[in-house]
Amino acid sequence: MIAESKKTPAARYGMSIDVDRCNGCGSCMVACAVENNIPPATAGATDRTGLTWIRVFRIDNGAEGAERRSAFVPVLCQHCGKDAPCVSVCPQQAVDVDPATGIVGQMPERCLGCRYCMAACPYHARYFNWWDPAWPAGMEKTLNPDVSPRMRGVVEKCNFCHGRWHAAKTKAVANGKTEIDPADYIPACVEACPSGAIHFGNLNDAATETAQGARLPNSFRMLESLGTDPKIYYQSKKNWVREISSAPRPAVGKEKARG
């Protein structure tokens, strides 16, 4: 909620995710957890109380038997560009949009854990720390110093690996540059993806692969009808996959699995 004041040459960081290249290995999820000091689950955690800033869903075309086909869709904070539902609802400004980067940030230290933002987010991309963070003895040595571990009772979510943004910024200053080198700022999930399905970059820079991916004809965004202008673009050549972007449950896929 801060600073409409300053007009910086705005970057609009976003992602383009090629669904047809994702094989659901889960590297992005664990890389994210490593990068952002997300603790392993306690014994009682389930997929409903889990903590993972990016979550790969296995979706299917709804058909039964031989016609049934699946795809993997990584869902993370969509960094809504307009009327982000989570920002305006936070009672104490723990959520903000950085006008310089377009990143929707969540401040766990400011958060009181009311979870209103979670109710507001249509993408279920916000996660709550139901447990105290706990790492097996010794493993806390492997924590990333660029990200502070969160305490129990607060909400957290993807911030495009903001620790890396800090590091890239510092490096740019050290090198006497004003802008960060795009090669220095790549979120952990993008870096980790073995099949190169995720691209990250400045959507305002038409030359980036991300911006190009966003403009592809088979590109879509999740729940665009809500008008939140998400900055995560997905691509798929399969019609039934593209249908998941709209709200109603897709009709049973008629598309042939071949191709």
């Binding site: 009682g44 409903r48 305006s88 609802v89 104490q92 400004q93 993408y123 009808s225 109603p248 449950r249």
Partner: protein, 429 residues
């Protein structure tokens, strides 16, 4: 003498049961209260993993109960508004009861909210760094302020206690405060109008939840106004219900029938206005709001057991039907109609709050997501039961030691002839 230990605290001329009997009545409630405190303590010490809430059901039983009891506690502000601002003098007979119910409901809801947030130690951040655009900020500010106002309104009731009033300072303070109470009633009305509304707005503004999202009127979604209306409508009904319940439990007559009738009429009128507004709102939502966000309204009701019957139950069964009963003088004159109608109205508002909170979260938004249900854990349930027990205990104390129903002494004689057939519970409190 143990039996009448607290005699000097009891209002002159009213009949209250013996001290041991009162303690006996309190014992189970205090037990429940302790259980609630233990449950809440577990949630505070060990964290919200003690609940069955999850990332999808980020809000659960507690928020539903909070919304419901605050709606039911609306009798406090609305009766105050009618009595002190609109000068409905008859309501003096129930204003104290309304204030006690208000205190109980609001403080109970606040307590539950403190357990509900993940980091209660930081709750003051909302005041210190408020995001004035958030409905929850409005709710927090208004509820806290209104709770303070209610406690101040409750103060004269306490100070008017027979024993406390012998202290000159209390006596004059009560007297002077009571003379200014209309100011507080006015402030309370303003605050509670807003927070009832902002509680409605809480879900109505959620663009990401098309089931709850509503079109805006000025800066507020329509649910803002619907919540005010529905709370104002059921507040009197809940007062009828509690007064009747206390009458049944104590075997006394506490308020004149005239008061019941007036409350019923007010409730009936407002309820019918509410039902009308709710119907219009629902139609706009089905035909405009929801489709514009890419959702067809029918799909919300495709999931068992959340069918369209809920909509019917909310608007017709628990809205229109009690409204008609409460508006018909012949029907509402009879307890057999009046009480069920009041109860239905209260159920209706509870159902509305349930739909707004729980059903909203149960419905998937992403097309590949599932419809999820949720069962509260015993810790959650225990906390809620603790809040209920707290309410009963506070109300029992207030009823025993303070003058909650000023007409009670006058009405004492009317109930006398039935003394022989007093119900088994008679004489409690």
């Amino acid at each position: 003498m143990v039996k009448e230990m607290d005699k000097e605290f009891i209002t002159r001329g009213v009949r209250r049961c013996s001290t041991p009997r009162f303690l006996l009545w309190l014992a189970p409630w205090v037990g429940l209260l302790l259980f609630g405190a233990y449950s809440a303590g577990l949630c505070l010490v060990k964290g919200l993993n003690q609940t069955n809430m999850d990332n999808r059901y980020a809000f659960g039983l507690w928020i539903f109960v909070d919304l419901t009891i605050i709606a039911l506690g609306a009798g406090a502000f609305f009766t105050g508004f009618l009595l002190y601002i609109l000068k409905f003098k008859e309501l003096k007979a129930v204003i104290n009861s309304a204030v006690v119910i208000g205190v109980v409901c609001y403080s109970g809801a606040m307590a539950a909210l403190m357990v509900d947030v993940g980091q209660p130690l930081r709750a003051w951040f909302t005041f210190w760094y408020p995001n004035v655009h958030s409905m929850l900020t409005e709710v927090t500010f208004c509820i806290s302020c209104y709770l303070v106002v209610l406690l101040i309104e409750y103060l004269p009731i306490v100070l008017k206690n027979r024993k406390l009033r012998e202290i000159p300072a209390f006596l004059v303070f009560e007297f002077e405060l009571h003379k200014l109470i209309y100011v507080l009633a006015g402030v309370g009305t303003f605050l509670s109008f807003f927070h009832q509304g902002s509680l409605g707005g809480l879900y109505g503004v959620l663009r990401g939840r098309p089931f709850a999202f509503r079109e805006g009127i000025f800066v507020w979604p329509s649910t803002f106004f619907l919540f005010i209306l529905s709370a104002a409508a059921v507040g009197p009904s809940f007062l009828i219900l509690t007064t009747w319940l206390v009458e049944k439990i104590t075997g006394k007559r506490l308020a004149k029938d005239r008061v019941f009738q007036m409350l019923a009429r007010i409730s009936g009128i407002l309820l019918s206005v509410y039902v009308l507004a709710k119907t219009v709102d629902t139609l706009i939502w089905i035909n405009r709001t929801s489709p514009s966000l890419g959702f067809t309204a029918s799909q919300y009701y495709d999931w068992k057991p959340f069918g369209t019957w809920i909509l019917f139950a909310e608007i017709v069964l628990c809205g229109l039907v009690p409204a008609l009963i409460l508006l018909t003088p012949r029907l509402r004159a009879r307890r057999a109609w009046l009480i069920p109608a009041a109860a239905l109205a209260c159920c209706g508002v509870a159902l509305n709050r349930y739909v707004q909170t729980v059903q909203t979260l149960a419905l998937p938004t992403l097309s590949f997501d599932k419809f999820l249900s949720y069962t509260p854990s015993w810790q959650e349930t225990g906390t809620v039961l603790g809040v209920v027990a707290y309410g009963v205990v506070v109300y029992s104390f207030s009823f025993r030691y303070f003058q909650i129903f000023p007409e009670e002494r006058e009405l004492k004689i009317e109930v006398r002839p039935q003394a022989e057939e007093e119900p088994a519970l008679a004489g409690r409190f």
